[in-house]
């Protein structure tokens, strides 16, 4: 088990290097650079811009800059944000928890809603409930996240029930511990729903299909013929088998949530990694982009690893040592 985890983490290292190279190339290919904004302003002296160019090594080709960056990374230095003039690690530490909490809550929200709905849709197959839930699923799948985010912001603004953005209120610092937690939760409700909605729909359909597959299997027929209570059949025989793809799929869902969070965080003004990546990309704040993209990848790989471990824990057929 431990060997499996270590091997997985080690195998991620070359992948991360590959991704960082790709990001550097893409940034170099993109027109303009970070100083274009400064250059367009006539009151900024040319010597200042020249000094900055030298500081950021913008005159060098991308591979030279890449190796400088790698040299720094090996020493544990991810560089400095050119916009904020603070170390990138500091920025990441501010943003990652927010995105992690949002993604985890979205997955939880999706699972808690999708599993019971999917199971009910399967048990009451072809009923009114099944039809309405599948209609809801198709609707949720076809509405783009950013549009749902816009609707949510509008809803918040119109009703005043929820904050229209941000992670915490203005008076956050003056609250008690539990008050602060409640404040965070209040701010998380809408982003969680918006980000999780698409996954609810897809999870629900997967759950329904799997459930139906297992309901038809012979071991369920046997259990019925033996007089096993229906509830026990549904939970022990069907659900435990049907839930597998959701467990292994949760790593993949994390990936879609991370990319979805770029849009949602921007529309809903949620200060997470997605917003940071977007902002840094727009301003070509190179080190921040690379670091944030890498962090996204690390989170994705950890998510997949956790999903694999969960699957191995829940399914006796999967033994990690043999892989």
């Amino acid at each position: 088990m431990l060997a499996f985890i270590i091997r997985r983490i080690l195998s991620a290292v070359p992948l991360l290097f590959g991704i960082s190279v790709l990001v550097f190339i893409l940034m170099a290919v993109a027109p303009g650079d970070f100083l274009d904004v400064a250059r367009s302003q006539e009151d900024i002296p040319a010597e200042y811009i020249e000094r900055m160019e030298q500081e950021f090594a913008l005159g060098e080709p991308w591979h030279t800059r890449y190796f400088i960056w790698v040299g720094n990374v090996v020493q544990g230095n991810l560089g400095e944000s050119w916009i904020y003039r603070v170390p990138v690690t500091e920025l990441l530490w501010q943003r990652i928890p927010a995105t992690l909490v949002l993604s985890a809550l979205s997955i939880l929200f999706a699972l808690c809603l999708a599993i019971p709905l999917g199971v009910l849709a399967a048990i009451y197959k072809d009923s009114i409930f099944d039809r309405i839930s599948s209609m809801f699923a198709y609707a949720a799948l076809s509405i783009p996240e950013f549009f749902l985010a816009l609707l949510a912001v509008m809803f918040a603004a119109q009703t005043g029930l929820f904050p229209t953005g941000g992670l915490s209120s203005v008076e956050h610092e003056f609250m008690s511990f539990w008050g602060r937690m409640a404040d965070y939760a209040h701010h998380l409700v809408l982003p969680t729903i918006v980000l999780g909605m698409g996954s609810v729909a897809s999870y629900m359909r997967i759950m329904r299909a799997n459930f139906l597959d297992y309901v038809r299997s012979d071991f369920v027929t046997t259990a019925r013929a033996k007089g096993v209570p229906e509830g026990r059949i549904m939970f022990l025989h069907v659900l435990r088998n049907a839930i597998n793809p959701l467990v292994s799929g949760s790593g993949f869902i994390l990936a879609t949530l991370l990319s979805g969070s770029i849009l949602v965080e921007n529309v809903m003004n949620y200060p997470g990694l997605g917003q940071l990546i977007f902002e840094a990309l727009m301003r070509q704040d190179e080190f921040v982009v690379v670091a944030a993209v890498l962090m996204g990848c690390v989170m994705l790989m950890l998510g997949n690893l956790i999903a694999d471990l969960l699957l191995a824990w829940s399914d006796p057929r999967i033994r990690l040592e043999k892989n």
Partner: protein, 300 residues
């Protein structure tokens, strides 16, 4: 029927397998359908009909019915093996499922030891779920992959013998594994760790767990290799001899059915087209469908 009589009948049945069936007319035949000598059959099925509605059109109204089982009558006497042959879709499996009330019959009666089980409520049918067990075709689909062998064998025990504690259930499960020729140390293993034949043995052990009288074998060997088929068939025959079991043996392969059964029912399109003792079916098939089935049996 006296115990002695039953024993004799069982001995007779099990020896009356392939070799004796081939031997010729002097082998004893048991006429099951007519229940000779006043023996009350274990199972009497009369005019059984199962129709499934066919939905169609925009509003999914009932357009018609599939006659899955159409006016079928037969008897199974205690300790015997009745073979039920027919091609896919002929209604064999539906009959099997009707007997354990997984499917409600549209009409007709099913009497088990003289009791009409078709009209029993869910609760009053429960004791019969202990007496009648099923063995399935696909050994990969019939065992829950998430349950260990101990759990698989323990579940029927916990339902029908609630007074047993965990230790007793484990002992019984180990005994069952030994009975079907598996190592009792395999209790903690999961189904995927066994071969197809071994899994079918686990399926048989699960059926035996609750000490049934009557086992419906729904194509128990069709998914297995020929060499494994023989060992499973032999196991079923040994168990029948040992425990006095009664089998309804469903298959599409007439050769196997003829080998294991005393009496054979041939089904086609929901109807029984011919029923006779195994030798009669083999020696002088009457119905053209039976002849076609026999011609389809590969010979060396």
């Amino acid at each position: 029927m006296s115990a002695f009589h039953l024993k004799v009948l069982i001995m007779h049945n099990t020896s009356n397998s392939y070799s004796s069936a081939m031997a010729g007319p002097e082998t004893g035949r048991i006429s099951i359908s007519s229940s000779p000598e006043g023996i009350k059959p274990l199972l009497e099925v009369k005019n059984l009909k199962v129709y499934f509605p066919v939905h169609g059109g925009l509003l999914r109204r009932i357009r018609g019915y599939v006659h899955a089982v159409d006016d079928v009558s037969f008897n199974v006497s205690s300790g015997s093996t009745v073979g039920l042959v027919g091609e896919s879709g002929s209604g064999k499996t539906t009959i099997g499922r009707c007997l354990v009330r997984l499917i409600r019959p549209t009409a007709g009666s099913i009497r088990y030891l003289g009791v009409e089980t078709g009209s029993l409520s869910k609760k009053t049918f429960f004791p019969y779920r202990k007496k009648i067990q099923m063995i399935f075709q696909d050994p990969f689909n019939s065992l829950n992959p998430r349950m260990s062998v101990e759990q698989i064998l323990g579940e029927p025990l916990s339902i029908h013998f609630p007074q047993m504690n965990i230790e007793q259930r484990r002992d019984r499960a180990a005994g069952l594994l030994r009975q079907v020729g598996l190592d009792p140390d395999h209790l903690r293993r999961y189904p995927h760790q066994f071969s197809g034949g071994q899994r079918q043995r686990i399926g048989i052990a699960r059926a035996l767990a609750v000490e049934p009288e009557f086992i419906i074998c729904d194509e128990p060997v069709s998914a297995l290799d020929v060499s494994v088929q023989a060992t499973i068939i032999n196991l079923l025959q040994d168990l029948q001899e040992e425990l006095g079991l009664t089998y309804l043996f469903i298959a599409h392969d007439l050769a196997i059915v003829e080998h294991i059964s005393n009496y054979v029912l041939v089904m086609n399109q929901g109807k029984i087209v011919e029923q006779a003792s195994a030798e009669d079916i083999y020696r002088s098939p009457q119905h053209p469908y039976t002849i076609k089935l026999l011609e389809a049996v590969p010979r060396l």
